[in-house]
């Protein structure tokens, strides 16, 4: 594999990994796309240059190994489909929350709150057993509250 291809794959993986670790869905989706490209470049680079295709015949040396290219094409088609689905999901998430941020897991918070020492709970607004909260109440309370606090009047509002 040529150094150039290897370096390209490495660069794509690095940028993709950075973006996937962000909190915004749009960045995560772009990051996943870049990671996929990195893997595909790696795949194309995996072939041995100068090896003829399956059919017998001359021209060895002027050919590229076709198999990894076929595999990469398949992988590209699959990632095209899943990226479209992800974008639809992210759009639905934005419609429902007015926000592009990954939401927290509500159940994890319930379990975490149960583990707090009693004195922490006593001063809080809702000292009763967290399980008594209606499901829908906790559902969007946490995500939205934190968004408003951290990102006051951010881009999501202007976008509308």
């Amino acid at each position: 594999m040529s150094v150039l291809l290897a370096a390209t794959a490495a660069g794509l993986f690095a940028v993709g990994t950075y973006l996937v670790l962000q909190r915004k869905l749009s960045r995560i989706i772009i990051g996943l796309g870049l990671l996929g490209h990195g893997a595909n470049v790696l795949m194309v680079g995996a072939g041995r240059a100068g090896r003829a295709a399956i059919v017998d015949g001359g021209g060895e040396g002027a050919l590229a190994d076709p198999l990894p290219q076929a595999l990469a094409l398949t992988a590209i088609v699959i990632s095209f489909g899943t990226t479209a689905l992800l974008l639809a999901l992210a759009y639905r998430s934005w419609l429902l929350t007015d926000d592009d941020e990954v939401q927290d897991d509500v159940e994890d918070e319930l379990v975490a709150r149960r583990g707090l020492p009693d004195e922490d709970l006593r001063g809080g607004p809702d000292p009763s057993d967290p399980d008594d909260d209606p499901d829908d109440d906790t559902g969007d309370d946490t995500g939205r509250g934190s968004h408003r606090a951290t990102d006051a009047g951010g881009t999501a509002g202007e976008g509308r």
Binding site: G36, A39, L67, A75, D105, V111
Partner: protein
């Protein structure tokens, strides 16, 4: 007979296309899907009988010989998995038809479901590493749609986690395929078996670990399990049941297949697998104990029980692998049954939170039985399938003197009992604290605890776990033969490339 190997893949795809064309008529769609899945069960059973009698069968797609073309292979292990998967797919579809919600409100449900069925069968029957990637993608993409079918906020949130984690695993899979091809020049599994043995040690271990990571994410083993308990519970209950029953097992199947077939005996990461198995069992069951929601408790238990299957593999003996095969089959049946009952509990009680349910042993005694049978089977109480699977596993661990992991598995069984009894006590035994949040419509005689079409498949699965316990002898013998095939793949190799 070789056509039986590809039909379980081709037929559901044709059925999916047909059911899109019949989108205007729900009864016609149902007829197509039930016919296809019923035929799937029959074909998988015939395939298992054939393979058990005459050894592995291979089909070269398009007539290209083995290392070049795409190969489909069925040996005893893959035929067993294909049969159990077909039975589960049929049972859960009947349940979905009976449930108000998921299946009735979406024109595309049947076609997506069939695509997933095709993906699962293809993953079990393929003999090509790249084709395994395509099958897993097929199955996962269908599951992305099914898991977010309702489009509710919680479904979108947890579905997003699920999709992103799965896609990262897919990217790693493509990278793995690139590295495998670059180092060996083939992606056919039978061909790889010989070529990987010739690689330098370091390269071979790197490939082995990367494979373990890729399939470990799909199978939810210890450090890579975190996505599962978050994403499964929010889907409609039949969808959760089928994902819980089958999708992680495809990961387990891929781990077992690649570790036994591709890598030479002396280089297998046995100790690593046993440590991971013990950690998976413990972390999963402790997570289950901490939760307060029926579906989430059950989801954490999936993680815990994946550990048992990996433990059987990690022993790398015939009896250990036989136990792993048996445990996988048992767990698919018992877990799908439990999730179906969980859906019925939610249907009858209006919630799946433990604090909001109670007194159902009086209001829905049938559900109590339907919960208790698979629950006790999962724990490993004697007449049920879980008992023979666990006995085989513990016996195999003792035979190879792996006492530490054996002790962990026994303790985890006890903790599993504790977490299931938590559900049992608060849902069934404790008095009903408040009137039900949304009283079920008793109009059409729901004395069974739910619609007939939902209760019957659940009862069939509960009956199946009893039957598997009673048929322990023949089933264990079959698993032993499957395990011998796995450890000595010469029949598999000659079937692919004679």
């Amino acid at each position: 007979m070789s056509v039986l190997v590809v039909l379980p893949v081709v037929l559901p795809i044709v059925g999916a296309a047909l059911s899109i064309l019949l989108g205007g008529s729900r009864p016609a769609q149902r007829a197509v899907v039930l016919t296809v899945l019923g035929a799937d069960v029959v074909m998988a059973a015939a395939l298992l009988v054939e393979v058990d009698r005459h050894g592995p069968v291979a089909v070269q797609a398009g007539g290209w010989p083995a290392p070049v073309g795409v190969t489909f292979v069925a040996d005893r292990f893959s035929a067993m998995m294909a049969l159990v998967a077909a039975v589960m797919l049929l049972a859960v579809l009947v349940y979905a038809i009976g449930q108000p919600g998921a299946e009735r409100n979406h024109v595309g449900f049947q076609s997506v479901y069939l695509v997933m069925a095709a993906g699962v069968s293809a993953a079990f029957l393929t003999g090509d590493l790249f084709n395994l990637f395509v099958s897993i993608e097929m199955m996962l993409t269908a599951s992305y749609v099914l898991i977010t079918l309702g489009g509710r906020l919680d479904q979108v949130r947890s579905g997003m986690t699920y999709v992103v984690v799965s896609l990262v695993a897919s990217v790693l899979f493509v990278a793995l395929l690139a590295l495998v091809y670059a180092s060996t020049g083939t992606v056919n599994m039978a061909d790889l078996a010989g070529r990987i043995a010739e690689l330098p040690d370091g390269l071979r271990s790197a490939l082995a670990v990367l494979m373990l990571v890729v399939f470990g994410i799909k199978a939810a083993i210890f450090p890579l399990y975190f996505w599962l308990p978050d994403s499964y519970p929010t889907a409609p209950s039949p969808v959760t049941a089928i994902l819980a029953g089958l999708l992680t097992k495809v990961g387990v199947y891929a781990i077992i297949r690649t570790q036994t077939l591709l890598f030479p005996a002396e280089t297998r990461p046995a100790t690593l697998l046993l440590v991971l198995a013990a950690a998976t069992m413990l972390v999963g069951v402790l997570g289950a104990i901490a939760q307060g929601d029926v579906k989430r408790i059950l989801s954490f238990q999936i993680v815990s029980h994946i550990g048992y299957m990996v433990m059987g593999l990690g022993l790398f003996t015939v009896s250990g692998l036989a136990a792993a095969v048996l445990y996988t089959v048992h767990h698919i049946v018992a877990k799908t049954g439990l999730f179906l009952t969980g859906g019925l509990i939610e249907h009858a009680g209006g919630s799946s939170r433990l604090t909001r349910l109670g007194g159902m042993v009086r209001s829905a005694p049938v559900l109590a039985v339907l919960f208790l049978v698979p629950a006790l089977s999962l724990v490993g109480i004697p007449p049920l399938s879980g008992f023979i699977a666990k006995l085989a596993l513990v016996d195999a661990a003792a035979a190879s003197s792996s006492y530490a992991v054996m002790a962990v598995s026994l303790v985890v069984s006890l903790l599993t009992l504790y977490s299931l009894m938590k559900i049992w006590i608060s849902v069934f035994w404790s008095p009903a604290t408040e009137p039900l949040a949304s009283p079920p419509d008793r109009a059409h005689g729901e004395h069974l605890g739910g619609p007939l079409l939902m209760v019957v498949p659940t009862a069939v699965l509960a009956g199946l776990t009893v039957a598997m316990g009673l048929a322990a002898g023949p089933l264990y013998d079959l698993s032993m033969r499957a395990a011998q095939d796995l450890l000595d793949p010469s029949a598999y190799l000659t079937a692919v490339a004679p």
